[in-house]
């Protein structure tokens, strides 16, 4: 019984102190959130980055004009099963910080378009975020992702 009381007391103290620190440190963020200045896209506001999106149709034009390089943020397995023609596989498991791009040189004259599994997948957003942090300026995220590309009947390999 004594031990049970001690465990509860210790746990409660840890939770209380953590809550206090967490809330106090983020006071300005909480204010923003309560004023509804934080959008549901938390990440975009967090980094003050504007990661622009591109539709399948816009991407198709760039693809035909060979102005874009597609970057596949999905797993290697999925990439091997099929990907946008000419796309490079950059799974999130391999890219863990902007520094990793120093090893991989991507063409700076092309628009880099990231994509993932579509729907709610976030890996293309993360990849785009890393690319921008690594200094690439022409980065876009493909809305609809891989399934959208397939549905539109566009070339893949």
């Amino acid at each position: 019984m004594k031990v049970f009381v001690q465990i509860s007391r210790q746990s409660l103290i840890i939770i209380l102190i953590s809550s206090l620190i967490g809330l106090l440190i983020n006071l300005s963020l909480i204010k923003k959130y309560l004023n509804q200045e934080v959008s549901s896209d938390f990440i975009l506001l967090d980094k003050n980055l504007s990661i622009s999106e591109i539709t399948i149709f816009e991407a198709e034009d760039l693809f035909r004009e060979e102005k874009a390089l597609f970057l596949d943020a999905r797993t290697e397995e999925k990439y091997k099963k099929g990907h946008i023609l000419g796309a490079i596989n950059l799974p999130l498991s391999k890219i863990k910080s902007p520094d990793d791009f120093k090893k991989i040189k991507l063409p700076e004259d092309k628009i880099l378009i990231t994509y993932c599994e579509g729907g709610d997948c976030r890996s293309s957003l993360y990849l785009a975020y890393y690319l921008i942090k690594a200094g690439y300026k022409n980065v876009k995220m493909l809305t609809g992702g891989w399934p959208g590309w397939l549905e539109a009947g566009l070339p893949w390999e």
Binding site: I14, I30, S97
Partner: protein, 148 residues
Amino acid sequence: MFWDNKYSILIFRLIVGGVFIFSAIAKIIQPLGFAQDISNYQLFSQDIAFFSALILPWIELLCGLSLISGIAIRGSSFLISGMLIFFITILIITLLQGKQIDCGCFGFFSHPVSWSLVVQDGVLFFLSLSIFFYSLKHSFWPKIKISH
């Protein structure tokens, strides 16, 4: 048993504590990124995602520090075990639903949800549970007796 002596428990404490401290710091730096990761699971409301993203990393940090220092270790190993059960449950639900999201486990060092993550959390759970049961029987700090 090999997991029931003070040396293995010390190693367990360093491993679990280290993982939690590292994971906590990665999330503390990026509160909104973590909030986004939580809301991607689509299991919680936006308010819950937001506020737990501010608090949860600090609970992880304090628990990690407590495990390593040996202060309030019963409470922290209990909390960590509880958190891990929670994480494992959420991971399994997400995997069964077939959702493809990032786990949000280490902030921007995160990776997609997979069964190997469930195993990884399962191992951590076993380690923290061993610490918890060991801590019930042993004290990590000598008791100070004030005598006159």
